[in-house]
Symmetry: C2
Subunit: 310 residues, 2 copies
């Protein structure tokens, strides 16, 4: 009897699912480093929350360890289940533009997160942070708290993201009494940042502040500074809002009292917004550009996810 | 017994409500004309949908017939229940900026929709349409479908919104073979548009297309054109995505085959996004700028709300 009831229930449920359930496919890089680890965490959290909130929406999260693997995920999507919407954080703009175009041509709504495609007309919705503001928010803090002095800067990998952060920082300091002594690439990598900072420390006897334009690099900077026992450095700041750095901000750390967000949780914003369109026909075609406000002891809770790897 | 059980349930529910329920207050103009009628409709729909989706979020919609009344609503909010978030479409920027600032100072998250405040730093989230695109999307259609010819334009009330729409239209036509014969103000009003169009018809023996930068005005234009029996006009286009015009687009109307959205449902996007922040800590500080894509027979369903007054 129970088995039969189960079978009937299944038979009854299947057409309802096919007719009424809308599917959001989420395609993101696997957790190969801190920030993408955060993306995976928040995508999975958003999937759970959105499914609980909207019983007629299903969210399927796919992680890919490479651009080639991500292309494969998209090919599968087009071939098998045509999702109502695709939320994608592309591994690279170049390799994913064509495959995303194919998904769009199958009638799927396209939400692009963080890295834009090479052809902007493919995206229906774009969600990203503001890298200029990441730089200028940090510079503004130094202008207010330091006023004048000598600063060294560590930048990441030559990309638009990195260029914009540096430009925002430099433009905000222009004409001020804060001088940039040196800027070197450290590949958004903790070990590379450790080495670059060791060089800076050897080269410059007096450094008032350090800006590593990413919190992974900031950890390397702090290690180098501590090992050297240098006490001239008043501020060592990063960016992105990594959990360990937010904890420092919450504790009122003297050297690192602030951070600026470029939050991996933006994937969550993109998934919720796509769901708002599918559930309530809320208009979402367009652009969402998230601010990079100053994270301080007072508002740090808002940017803190104790269970996230990032 | 039932009465007692009810009382116990109430006693049990009250503290849970006070502790856990987050409140979004929505403050919007009353339904004094078509577009604001749509805003009220979509705000109430969003309140219902968001409350159903997130049992721990309450949404309270307040409509105000004037700027003074809206200021009163905000004063009440600060004095009585401090909402977790305020979603506001301000009656006017000037009169509402100070009162919204007071709500923010009480610790409330501020989402501003459509009309910005005079001080942008007050808003946490800003949701608006793209008025430049409203003009350029329309001009692009005329370039593709008309190629060359003479156009008359009706504009609304001297405001930034109106200026941007006209600028987007003019810039897109610059250097083309489409000439703007005349541009006159008609106050985003159907009757005024009827009169302005009568003047245009009397003055210009050959008009290839008319652009009224709002669908209310377009209705007046169509009436004047029909009464005059003029057959030279190939296209009469509007903007905003009013229901009556979307219906024409769906029917494949020859004179009005497209529209461009400046949707009152953007209030819905703002409410959903604010709820995403309260429910899932999704980052939403920043700006949402909605596109104004071409609404055609093929995609009109997406922009159509048969139960809305607009």
């Amino acid at each position: 009897m129970f088995a039969l009831a189960g079978a009937v229930a299944l038979l009854g449920a299947a057409p309802a699912l096919a007719q009424d359930t809308k599917v959001i496919a989420v395609s993101i890089p696997a957790a190969t480093h801190g920030w993408t680890g955060g993306v995976v965490y928040h995508a999975e959290a958003a999937a759970k929350e959105v499914k609980a909130a909207f019983p007629n929406i299903d969210v399927i999260v796919n992680t890919s360890p490479s651009a080639v693997a991500q292309v494969g995920v998209l090919e599968d999507l087009v071939a098998t289940r045509k999702p109502d919407a695709l939320v994608i954080l592309p591994f690279t703009s170049e390799e994913l533009t064509g495959p995303v175009q194919s998904v769009k041509e199958a009638g799927t709504f396209i939400t692009v997160v963080d890295r834009g495609l090479t052809d902007e007309t493919i995206q229906d919705l774009y969600v990203a942070g503001d890298n200029i503001a990441v730089g200028s928010t940090t510079a503004q803090f130094l202008l207010e708290e330091l006023g004048k002095g000598d600063v060294v800067v560590l930048r990441g990998i030559p990309t638009v993201i990195d260029d914009e952060r540096i430009q925002g920082f430099q433009d905000a300091l222009e004409g001020s009494d804060i001088k940039i002594l040196d800027i070197q690439y450290a590949n958004w990598n903790r070990d590379d940042a450790f080495k670059v900072m060791q060089d800076f420390l050897a080269k410059y006897p007096k450094i008032d502040a350090v800006w590593a334009n990413d919190d992974d690099m900031l950890l390397g900077v702090l290690e180098a500074t501590q090992q050297a026992g240098r006490t001239d450095i008043k501020f060592a700041l990063g960016a992105n809002g990594m959990k360990e750095i937010i904890e420092k901000v919450m504790e009122g750390d003297e050297i690192t009292p602030i951070s600026t967000p470029y939050p991996p949780s933006m994937i969550k914003t993109a998934i919720y917004l796509t769901a708002a369109n599918l559930n309530g026909q809320a208009p979402v075609r367009g652009k969402v550009i998230l601010d990079a406000p100053r994270i301080t002891k007072e508002n740090a809770q808002e940017f803190y996810f104790p269970d996230s790897p990032f």
